[in-house]
């Protein structure tokens, strides 16, 4: 996992599964910041992220029994979180039907490498985060799953309900949206400065 870099808390998980509240507390303290950040990146508002984090951990109490201890706990936790966040977005109809229709028709353009290079060079992390907020639900979710929690294409396909073959297309389209948002932010900033 890219995000938390936490070692597998095998003992705490076993104790939490047996109903030990202190062990559950340990897991919460260890993972809550990373999960909150995940939700913060994936969901539109800070309040949504707070709600989602709490709901995920409440859900986790019941779900912990389903966790396969031979696999990475944080990977499993991110998958639970991704499903939860995507469900939240879907319930609010942020997921756009248009995206499903367009997903196969995204133009596979070859951008100007130098221009892209320049765009990336000049952008700070904060600007990228602001641009992320402007993306559609699916695009943001895909980028977060891939570049925050390092989920595999299979996992992303499973979470978003698309075929695995289209995960790359979804990600590329999300990158295009992000570049447009970054360019828009830059133009806005330039307009504001002049």
């Amino acid at each position: 996992m890219s995000a938390p870099g936490i070692t597998q808390p095998t003992e705490a998980i076993a104790r939490a599964r047996a109903g030990d509240a202190d062990a559950w507390g340990e897991l919460y303290r260890e993972y809550a910041p990373a999960i909150f950040r995940f939700c913060r990146r994936a969901l539109p508002t800070r309040e949504d992220a707070e709600d989602a984090t709490m709901e995920i951990f409440m859900k986790l109490k019941d779900k912990l029994i389903q966790y396969d201890a031979t696999r990475s706990f944080s990977a499993w936790l991110y998958k639970v979180s991704a499903n939860h966040c995507w469900d939240m977005l879907r319930r609010r109809k942020i997921r756009q039907d248009k995206e499903t229709e367009d997903v196969e028709n995204v133009p596979l353009e070859h951008p100007d490498p130098n221009q892209l290079d320049q765009l990336i060079e000049q952008r700070t992390s904060e600007e990228v985060r602001k641009a992320l907020d402007k993306l559609g639900g699916r695009a943001r979710m895909a980028l977060v799953m891939r570049y925050y929690s390092d989920m595999s294409y299979d996992e992303i396909a499973d979470a978003l309900g698309v075929r695995r073959a289209f995960v790359g297309v979804v990600l590329l389209r999300a990158r295009h949206e992000l570049r447009q948002a970054l360019e828009g932010n830059a133009a806005l900033a330039a307009g504001g400065a002049s």
Binding site: S2, A14, R17, A18, G19, W24, G25, Y28, R29, A32, P33, F36, R37, R46, E47, E50, T53, M54, F57, D62, K63, I65, Q66, D68, R71, A75, W76, K79, V80, N83, L108, E109, H110, P111, D112, P113, N114, L116, D117, I120, R123, S125, E126, V128, R129, L132, L143, V144, R146, Y147, S152, Y153, D154, E155, G168, L171, L172, R175, L178, R179
Partner: protein
């Protein structure tokens, strides 16, 4: 961004390059891309740009730009409390369900049975159908209603919380609840009288219920409602149209009570007319030669003497019954002695379980002879057979548990894990223990529901048989620690089960303690099994995560995705 040609032999498209750096291409295609980017400046530049974009994205996302909100930092403690709230909700729902079942099914039956003239010949019938005690549970019904309302409020809070933000949702729900509570309640006149000798005088008529408490309580006038009395001596010489619910040393009833008498005390003497039933917890009850009881008498106590007339049955748990009057129904007694005098007339069957046969006068008029059953005091534990059978049964249960654990080791592990959290399984166990047979019974009423009802009841019985094994496994785990494999689990179950049996066997010789222990074990075990089933039927979010796609080995001199030319 300006467009460049697609993969026409000169340049690779962006999709291919992205899949390359994401390691999603097969090995052959990966090598092709690698070779191409070593020769093509434009594609190599784009590849590097995409890699930088990936790194920028990851960095932007991983940066800790804001601390964990205090609401989340405090959530852990609140979550513990919220679990209690959830269980409160479960109990509330259970209470609501019981109340709904009562009003929907049992109450109409009760009315129909009463109209059909069926009397309560056993305790359950008396308690539930005949209503000998039900009205005394009025406060319990009120409690159920409060629980039901709180449950609704909780559900309302959960519902609104998703739509309106926290504070406002709670405010809305509780404001609504307060409004409901503030609505005027139905008119119910209730009077209270205290002092040394509270009295309802001869020429007085009370409309509604009355509470009387003091040294000596007297009702000489008319009470058009129920009388609740707490005193050393209670005299009912007037007319009570409702029930008399009392606690006191001595109750004398020379007047008329149209409803029931439900009391606890030392002695009661009925010389007047009681319209319905009597339930007495205490030492002695006498129905005088002038006394008439329209319904049944249920008594837990010392002696019961019937010299007057009883319309229906006697259900008695105590020392002695002395009948020298008329009994319209059956007599069911578990006690020491039954004496039937020369003036006695009993119209129903007589079942007597006691130490010695009933003493029946030859002049007594009985519809059928007394069916006597000698009480067998449990002394079997002094015999060796008893222990042999105990060992055989224990071994049989362990074998049964072993088969179950081997058949479904995963489920067994989940069940034991659920049982180890104590509170939740016991709470759920109470619900399942009482609720499932009731639900099965209701399902059996309809032809369509009959198989479902029978199946549900069968499952309930299986859970009941397995409950002790689950508790045994928990005890075994407590002693030996968590097992590593199925046989370890079975070994712990066997050890724990034997220990539970060793502790439980002497307890079972003491009736109440044995019953409490058995109920505790059943509810705990059944709750754990139910919890495990519940968790199983929940939609699985992330089981069996599929393995990552094949990633070709990275050639040397690579950065993120693939090889770059020197």
């Amino acid at each position: 961004m300006s467009e460049m040609p697609k993969d026409d032999g000169k340049h690779l498209d962006e999709m291919t390059l992205l899949l390359y750096i994401e390691r999603q291409l097969d090995r052959a295609r990966g090598l092709e891309v690698s070779a191409h980017t070593q020769e093509c400046d434009a594609c190599r530049t784009l590849l590097r740009a995409l890699e930088r974009e990936s790194r920028l994205l990851t960095r932007a996302m991983l940066e800790e730009d804001e601390p964990l909100p205090s609401r989340l930092a405090q959530f852990q403690e609140r979550a513990r409390k919220s679990m209690q709230w959830i269980w409160g909700l479960v109990f509330g729902l259970a209470a609501t369900g019981v109340y709904a079942l009562y009003t929907t099914y049992i109450q109409p039956w009760q009315t129909q049975l009463e109209n059909a003239g069926f009397g309560g010949s056993n305790l359950l019938g008396l308690l539930i159908f005949q209503g000998a005690m039900w009205k005394g549970w009025q406060s319990v019904i009120t409690l159920l209603e409060v629980l039901a309302m709180l449950t609704l409020a909780g559900l309302g809070a959960m519902f609104f919380r998703r739509r309106i933000r926290r504070g406002s949702a709670l405010a809305l729900v509780f404001a609504g609840l307060c409004t409901v509570l503030a609505l005027p309640a139905g008119v119910s006149a209730t009077e209270h009288r205290g002092g040394q000798n509270p009295t309802v005088s001869k020429d007085e008529t009370i409309k509604g219920n009355i509470y009387l408490s003091g040294e000596r309580v007297r009702v000489e006038g008319t009470v058009d409602g129920d009388v609740f009395a707490a005193a050393k001596d209670i005299d009912i010489d007037g007319h009570v149209t409702g029930d008399v619910i009392s606690a006191g040393r001595y109750l004398r009833m020379r007047g008329t009570v149209d409803g029931n008498i439900r009391s606890a005390g030392n002695t009661a003497v009925i010389s007047g007319t009681l319209g319905k039933n009597m339930m007495w917890f205490g030492d002695a009850v006498t129905v005088d030669a002038t006394g008439k009881v329209g319904g049944s008498i249920t008594m837990f106590g010392g002696t019961l003497a019937i010299d007057g007339r009883l319309g229906r049955d006697i259900l008695f748990f105590g020392e002695e019954i002395n009948v020298n009057g008329g009994v319209g129904g059956a007599i069911q007694q578990k006690g020491h002695a039954l004496i039937i005098g020369p003036n006695a007339q009993v119209d129903g069957p007589i079942h007597f379980e006691g130490d010695q046969p009933a003493s029946v006068s030859p002049e007594a008029k009985l519809a059928s002879p007394v069916v006597f059953k000698q009480v067998e005091h449990k002394r079997e534990y002094r015999e060796s057979d008893y222990y042999v059978w105990r060992v055989i049964w224990t071994a049989a249960f362990v074998l049964f548990g072993m088969v179950l654990f081997l058949l479904a080791p995963g489920f067994a592990r989940e069940t034991i894990s659920s049982a180890e959290s104590y509170g939740a399984p016991i709470g759920l166990g109470i619900l399942v223990f009482f609720g499932v047979p009731l639900a099965a019974l209701i399902a059996c009423i309809t032809v369509v529901g009959l198989p479902l009802g029978v199946l549900t009841f069968g499952l309930w019985c299986l859970m009941l048989c397995s409950a002790e094994l689950v508790v045994g496994a928990v005890v075994g785990n407590l002693i030996l620690g968590q097992p590593k494999d199925t046989w370890g689990m079975i070994g712990r179950m066997a050890l724990g089960f034997v220990i539970v049996r060793i502790v439980y066997t002497p307890l079972s010789q003491v009736h109440i303690l044995g019953l409490v222990a058995a109920l505790g074990i059943w509810m705990w075990g059944m709750g754990a099994i139910s919890l495990a089933i519940y968790r199983r039927i929940q939609p699985v979010i992330a089981p069996n995560v599929p393995s990552a796609p094949y990633a070709p080995p990275m050639p040397p001199n690579t950065t993120v995705g693939g090889p770059l030319p020197a």
